[in-house]
Structure formats: C-alpha cells, structure tokens
C-alpha cells in the first residue's frame, strides 16, 4: 500500500465533473428543493409555508417543490436550477439520506456541482412521519432545513477516494454455499482461496441421504461440485483450516489462515484407506451424529474431497500416550507424520464470502424430550445418517438401542423452533419439508412401517413442496396437529404425549423410535468468527445482511458477502441461489479498476496533533494509527468510515471530520 494513499489531508483536484468553480464563495448561492413525497410529507408539512420561510433564510436564492424529487423530472428540476440559478450549494428537503442522498448527489454531479455540496434535510422520517400536528411539523421542518443550510454553507467540495482492488477472493466455509460461490468466482477467471474447518468439503449436505422435493441422492448431486472444486485450477482449497485473523479493508485484505496439524502428509498419502482399518482410538463421531464412534484417524466419508484422512490429536493413542502407532506401521507410503504442527499461511485477497453454515440446536437442552436419557430419541440429522447408504447402518433404518427395525416412528416438528422461551422464536424453515421427506424415505425402506408426524403448521412455500406434502399423506403418513409436550420410556417403547388440536384432545402415542426436527441455529464457529471479524450478527447469531429486502447477500462491512444458512435457515435451492448471488456481487466489485470510497473521512491537523493516541484507541475500524516515528496520528482514509468518534475523542481538536466539523455541528445545533 503506497504511503501517499494514506495522507488524505488535501482533497484531490482535477475532477472532470466539476465544470463550475467549486471554491467556497463568501456569499453562497443555495437552492432549497422540497419534496412532497406524495402525501408522506405534504400531508403533514405545509409546503407553501415551508417554501416561504426557507426562501428568506440567509444564502437561499431559490426554493422549489415537487411531488417526487427522486423521479427523473424531479432530478432534472434540480439539475436545471443549478445551471440556471447558478447555485453552488443544494439542499433537498425530503426522506432519509439512507434512501436518496446518493441519487441527489449524483444529480448534482451531473450538473457540474461537487456532490458533497449537496445536503439532505430529512423532513419525513424525522418530521412528517412522527406527528399529525401540521403546525408543529412545519416549524420543525423549517428548523431542519436551517440546520442543513448551516452545514451546507460550511461544506467543502470533496473528491471520492479510490483504492486498488486485489482481484482474489476468500470464501470461508465449504458447504454447498461456499462451494457454489467459489466455483462461480473461479469460473469467471479469478483465484479463490476456499477455507474449510473440516477435513473435507461438502458441509451438512454431505450427511444427507436424499433431498426434497425431488428425492435426489444428496451425494450424487453434491459430488460433481466437490470434485470440480477439488481439481479447479483457480481454487486454492485449504481444508482442516481456520481463519486466524483478517486485517485491512475492502479490496486489500490480509488474511492469516491456521492450517491445523493433520499428521498426514497430503503429498505422499494416496488415500488408500488402510490406516483407517487399524486404528483403535475413538472419537464422539460428530459426522455420524453420535450414532457410532469415529476413529482417531478418519475421513468423513468415502467420497471425501480431499480424500486424505487426518488424525484427531486428542483421540489418538500415539499422540496422547505414546503407544500404538498402527497407522504409521501399515501406511504403504510413510505418509503419517506424528510430529506435524499447526501452520500459518498468509493470503491477500480483495473480497470475502462468509458461508459458515448452520448447526442443529442441542436437543439435550429440551429436557422434556428425554434426549440422551430415553433410548431411540434422535434428531433429524442423525436420522439422515441412518437413511444414508454410507451411514453407520448402510442405509437400513435401525433403532440405535438394539438394532431392531422400528415399525412405528413418531416425527416431532418444532423441537425448539417458534419457541421464545428457549430463545428461538423463529421458524427454522426446512423442517416441515425434511420431515415429510424422512417419513417418505422411512416407508420406502420399511414397507409396513407407520409414521406419524406431530406438527403445528405444515409450511410448504417452494416449488413442488405442497405436492410433496400430498405425496406424504397419500402414502398413509399420519399428520397429527399438536406440539409434543413430553417423551418418555415405557418398557422398550418410546411414549409420546401429543395432541390432536383439530379434534380437541390429548393423544398418547407409542413408538419404536422418535425423530426430533430440532431448530436450525447459526454455526457457533461462524458466530465466533463474525465476532472476530466484527461483521454484524443478529440476536440469534445469524449474519446480518445490509438490507433485509434489497441487499440480502452483502453486509454493512465493505468487502464481506454472505451466502447460505449462516445468514438464516434456508434449503438447498435457496442456498445455491444466494451463493451465486454473492459471487455475482463480488464479481461486480472485481469488474472495477479501482474502488471508490466516501471522502467524508477524518483528517488530522499535524501542527496540533501530539500523538496521544486517543483516536487510535477509539477507532472501531483500525483506520487511525499513531506513526511511531513522527508521533502524529495518521488516517487511512480508505478504511475510515467517517463515524466521527475520533474527532470527538481528540482532546486537542487536531482531529476533525471532513464536512462535519465541530464548528459546523455546534452552529447547526444553535440554528435549529
């Protein structure tokens, strides 16, 4: 990063857009444009009175109003007035600047006025929308326009900052979302670093047996993608790795990746699998959801990409006690290296996609359901492993307790979801569909098996979903409307207290096995990562999008994009769509030569600054550092988000905020 990029004390000159002199004139010529916004503003604020009172404010040379200023004719009116009335400042009294500040600033720029000499007076959200009293609203609107006038007169013309872009991407998480994003970016010709914390890629989709509503075999549709990812020349795949830190800013991130010690040399390992047969060490078996124990040296599934095992150091008998060593003895290529260590790799990228995925809520926290106490009560992913051909029972549905085939299964929906008392008031979206699927698949395997699904509502909003639900009921699967209150043991059966609210009574069901559709929660590792990266998460740990309707794959932190269930529960088609959308947004960013950044940043007066460092401690974006040699604060304008906190913290007044100086703010407060 060249040093001169950091010194943003002087605005740049030579902006081709400024054909009008942009010096601050002693007597400004301000135009005030009042928007009716239909009846949103005009229904409460008395526009003629506002225009009259604004017209006599000092510096205002023209006032105009229009029904919808943001429309083309509205903007044209502003552009024409800038030229005809020779304006050098513009105020638009309208809605919140978050909506149309950019619109009006661009309009000014097109008319030859520096965009940063245009201010918005929010007389809608801050005025017309909070009262029905017309007189009070009009008076307040005048006050708001006056403060905007005070500010705009102090404003300096500014030029946007540009920064270079490193056109390399980082995708964190290699479930189907991360894989899809990575492939889209790589196929567009850019290099992608794909980091995954598990030893192989595929995420939860790799654990599924078949997917709704098509009943496609999950592995069959996933493996083409995983194989392509593994061999793609533009994808640098780092599995069994985690993000240690990220520094920098959009277009210029420095990422430190921790590659965990694998104890298996990927270059010499051929993936033959002999070591797997001889290992006596045991783990919890997370991939199999606890149905069987895993081995200390393991790969997640036979079709793993990369198809090389890793050793879980805590379960390995050699690494913990110095005994065994079977795998090293049988390995034909000598690929086992017990002296392996974690390694750190530094990568430089320009943009990052967060695709950390989901987990299922720990059902042992729902004490009334008896998980861990009553045998044969399992969650949805565990049942998926029973159904899966590569699972612990080779796809035969068997009771975990005694291996017998269950003849009656009760599926319990909403285990934790839609329940504010356990902290998950939301609907997990996928469970109605996957439960119907699991019941159908169970009946495929066990022809005389009976399935009962206890539900509150059946939600089928996707293509083919309602028809799939009908398929389930046509197959004789019984839907019983009533949330389950308790699950307990009776002999070797599992008893379920449910109800039939449609008939209005309690029902006691006897089953051989119970499957809980537990709530979908954000992957706890993803939540931890978001905290480290300071990207936004909501109260449930899901990543927050920049706008819930219109910007679902971006975050408010420039350069970070979102894909998949880390942002909220969703099914595979939606995940893939969102992943491609995130890639598209990222590629749109890469399509520029340089990135522009708002110039309303902090600036240091070096003659006053003593290098006390208060600004550095205050900054949430790491945008201000005290130069140790010069003992002066230096602002990285590209990282600076213009929040103003440093200017407030600065005890000497050396730090100011462009176009939001202390003088301006005090005068604005007085003028209201």
């Amino acid at each position: 990063m060249p040093n001169d990029e950091r010194r943003m004390s002087e605005p740049r000159t030579g902006n081709p857009q400024s054909t009008i002199e942009n010096r601050q004139s002693k007597i400004p010529r301000v135009g005030v444009f009042v928007c009716h916004c239909g009846i949103n503003i005009a229904g409460v604020v008395k526009i003629p009175e506002l225009l009259e009172r604004a017209g006599i404010m000092p510096g205002v040379v023209v006032t105009k109003d229009y029904k919808y200023c943001c429309s083309d004719p509205g903007q044209q009116m502003i552009r024409d007035s800038i030229k005809n009335d020779k304006l050098d400042r513009v105020i638009v009294a309208c809605c919140s600047p978050t909506l149309h500040e950019t619109t009006f600033r661009n309009a000014c720029g097109e008319a030859g006025l520096n965009p940063y000499l245009c201010e918005i007076a929010n007389i809608r959200e801050q005025c017309a929308w909070v009262t029905e009293d017309k007189d009070a609203a009009t008076t307040k609107a005048c006050g708001i326009v006056r403060t905007a006038l005070t500010k705009v007169v102090e404003d300096q013309p500014l030029d946007a900052i540009t920064v270079p872009i490193n056109k390399r991407a980082l995708v964190i998480g290699a479930g189907i979302a991360g894989i899809q994003s990575a492939l889209d970016i790589a196929n567009a010709g850019y290099e992608v670093v794909l980091v995954e914390k598990e030893p192989s890629i595929g995420g939860h989709m790799a654990q599924l047996s078949e997917t709704f509503p098509t009943l496609d075999c999950s592995q069959c549709i996933l493996t083409p993608r995983t194989v392509e990812t593994g061999r793609h020349p533009k994808i640098k795949l780092m599995t069994y790795s985690e993000i240690d830190s990220v520094s920098g800013y959009v277009g210029n991130f420095k990422v430190k990746v921790r590659q965990k010690a694998r104890y298996v040399d990927f270059k010499t390992c051929t993936g033959c699998g002999v070591c797997l047969e001889k290992c006596p060490g045991r783990t919890e078996g997370r991939f199999e959801r606890g149905l069987t124990k895993g081995k200390a040296i393991y790969r997640l599934l036979p079709q793993a990409v990369p198809n090389k095992p890793v050793i879980d150091a805590e379960a390995c008998i050699y690494l913990t006690k110095g005994k065994c060593g079977n795998c090293a003895k049988v390995c034909p290529t000598g690929a086992i290296h017990y002296d392996d260590t974690d390694k750190f790799v530094e990568e430089e990228v320009g943009a990052i996609v967060l695709a950390t995925g989901y987990e299922l809520f720990d059902a042992t926290k729902l004490g009334q359901y008896g998980v861990g106490l009553v045998p044969d009560v399992i969650d949805g992913l565990a049942f998926e492993r029973l159904l899966s051909a590569s699972g612990p029972t080779s796809g035969e549905v068997k009771r975990p307790s005694d291996g017998k085939t269950p003849k009656k299964i009760v599926f319990v929906q909403c285990a934790g979801s839609r329940d504010s008392t356990v902290g998950m008031p939301y609907c997990s979206k996928i469970c109605c569909m996957y439960t119907a699927k699991q019941a159908i698949l169970y009946r495929h395997r066990v022809h005389d098996g009976q399935a009962t699904i206890c539900y509150i509502d059946v939600r089928t909003p996707g293509k083919g979903f309602e028809e799939f639900y009908k398929r389930a009921t046509d197959d004789g699967i019984q839907y019983l409307r009533g949330k389950v209150s308790k699950i307990f043991r009776q002999g070797d059966k599992v008893m379920v207290w449910a109800s039939d609210t449609l008939a209005g009574r309690k029902v006691e069901l006897e089953a051989d096995m119970v499957v809980l559709a537990t709530a979908v929660i954000a992957n706890p590792d993803g939540v931890g990562l978001a905290r480290k990266l300071k990207t936004q998460i909501d109260t449930h740990g899901f990543m927050t999008e920049a706008h819930p309707k219109l910007r679902p794959v971006e975050t408010l932190t420039a350069g970070f994009f979102l894909a998949g269930c880390g942002q909220g529960p969703k099914d595979i088609p939606e995940t893939v769509a969102q992943a491609s959308a995130a890639a598209a947004k990222l590629l749109a960013m890469f399509g520029n030569t340089r990135l522009t950044h708002s110039p309303t940043t902090a600036q240091v007066d070096e003659e006053i600054c003593v290098g006390c460092g208060y600004c550095e401690r205050t900054c949430a974006y790491d945008a201000v550092k005290v130069d140790p040699v010069k003992r002066k604060a230096v602002v990285n304008a590209a990282l600076c988000e213009g929040c103003g906190a440093c200017a407030v913290a600065c005890p000497s007044g050396a730090m100011t905020h462009k176009n939001a100086t202390k003088k301006a703010i005090f005068e604005m407060a007085d003028s209201f």
């Binding site: 729902l366 004490g367 009334q368 008896g370 106490l373 009553v374 308790k486 699950i487 307990f488 043991r489 009776q490 002999g491």
Partner: protein, 286 residues
C-alpha cells in the same frame, strides 16, 4: 449445631406426624436442628395466582412475618408449604408490588422485619450441610437400592420463583440418594403431577395421573420411590393404584434416617402403605 426455624404444615403436624419426627431426628444426626415456629398457621395448601385475591395471601404473610422475627431463613419439609410460602415471599418482593405488599403486611399484627429466605429441607442438605458432610455421617449405606426420585410439580414450578434445579430433570434428590448409597434410576416423571388435591373429588383422575408415574418408575427398574410432599406420598402410596407389584413409596427423610442410623421406631414406617418393614428387611436395610 445450627438451628433453623421450621414450618411443618398441617399434614406433617398431624396425619403424617411420624414423618415429621423422623425428619427432625435425621436432621440432628446430620448436623442441624429444626426448631418449630411458635403458633404458626395454615399456609393455605395451594398458592392463589389470581391478581387481586389478597385475602388468600394473608395467612402465609403472617407466617413469614413471624419467621422474620426469628431469623432470615425458614425451613419447610412439605413441597406444598414450600411452594406457597416461597411464592408469597416472592410476590411481596416483586418490584412494582410495593403498594400491595404494604397493604398485606398491615393485615397481620406481627411486624415484618425483613424478607425471609424460604428453604426446603433438601436445599439445607445440599447447600448448607453439603454432600461430603452427609456422606461422612452415613452409617448404613442403602445397599444400592434402585430408587426413583419423585419431586412432584410443586417442588420445581414456577421455575423463576422457586429456583430449585432444572424442572425437566432435577438432580438434587438423586444426588442425595447417591450420597446415601442408593442408586437413583433414570426417571422421566420426576416432576409430573400426581393429581394432588384432585384426590378429594376426582379420585379417578388422581389415580390415573399417579399410575403413569409409577409405571414409568418401574419401566426404569426402580425398586422404590422417594417423595418430598405428604400428599404426593399419599397419592402414590395409599391410593394403591397398582395392586399388583406395587412399589414402596418412602419420604426422603425416611431413607435419610435409615442411612444415618435411626432405629426402626424412629422412621415412621407405620405411615407407609403395604409392608415397608418387610421390604426393607429383605434389602438388609433394617
């Protein structure tokens, strides 16, 4: 020896007197003394949850006022009394309830010195005495007797007020049983209702609710059940819901008493239905 103010409640004072005496003697062996509050009155047996029913709260308020003059703690042995007294104390302390609280206190002659901490005997054992100290006093370990710990609904709910362990799978009494040398079994009905006072006018309902509890205890292999409330003990025991293969139902202080070496006469076994003496002798516990 630490002394605690003690509130026996109507049933333990009369019909279940033997359980009260057993509990006091066991307490002494373990290292604390229960001193009965003078002239206590009925707690009301069940908490009245209606927002404006103040008359029902006066009885318990008087008990708490008297207790406050004697110290800051009050020990109960019956889950129902515990539930009422603790909830009433909580109601008095609720922020925003000051007007009602003052009004209630003016209805009793006794001055309310300060809020009283209402404790169940089990909480004294766990928090004040401690499992290690109790283990040291065990003379006759309970020979790995398979015991289902039945807490009953009033012991654990409402959970924000009673703050007594996890309402879905409480462990306190199970821990006590383990310390005494018994083997607490898994049990899905630890805090499901036995029917309670419905035994008065709907015996069938109390029987059916109790039946489920006993069935589940048996399903997990329990040989006996322990309870914390004389009414629960009655419903599970004397109602004889299971005529064939009935499980003996003890009060937890009876098993505590055996373990710390009380004599047979001191255990109050005449209160239990069936043949508790024969059962205990067969287990070499008497």
């Amino acid at each position: 020896m630490t002394k605690y103010s003690y509130y026996p409640g109507c049933t333990l004072y009369t019909k279940a007197r033997s359980l009260d005496l057993c509990a006091r003697k066991a307490a002494e062996r373990v290292g604390f003394e229960l001193v009965e509050m003078p002239s206590w009155n009925c707690c009301g047996a069940i908490y009245n949850a209606t927002s404006d029913d103040l008359a029902a709260q006066v009885g318990p308020v008087r008990n708490l006022a008297k207790a406050s003059q004697m110290g800051d703690k009050l020990v109960t042995l019956c889950a129902a009394c515990h539930n009422v007294l603790k909830r009433v104390q909580n109601r008095l302390d609720q922020p925003g309830n000051e007007v009602e609280s003052e009004r209630l206190k003016t209805f009793v002659d006794e001055k309310f010195e300060h809020p009283v901490k209402v404790l169940h005997y089990l909480e004294v054992l766990k928090n004040d005495i401690g499992w290690d100290a109790i283990k040291a006093k065990v003379i006759k370990p309970l020979a790995k007797l398979k015991v289902a710990s039945y807490y009953g609904c009033l012991m654990v709910r409402p959970k924000e007020v009673l703050e007594f362990d996890d309402p879905e799978n409480p462990q306190v009494m199970d821990d006590l049983m383990r310390v005494l040398g018994a083997e607490p079994t898994r049990f899905d009905f630890k805090a499901e209702c036995c029917g309670g006072y419905l035994v008065v006018n709907r015996r069938d309902v109390a029987k059916s609710a109790s039946q489920k509890i006993l069935d589940n205890a048996k399903a997990w292999g329990a040989e006996a059940i322990v309870t914390t409330c004389p009414l629960c003990q009655y419903n599970l025991d004397k109602l004889r819901v299971m005529t064939d293969g009935a499980l003996p139902v003890f009060y937890f202080t009876q098993l505590l008493g055996i373990a710390v070496g009380l004599t047979q006469d001191e255990l109050g076994l005449e209160h239990n239905a069936g043949d508790p003496v024969g059962f205990l002798k067969a287990k070499c516990l008497l």
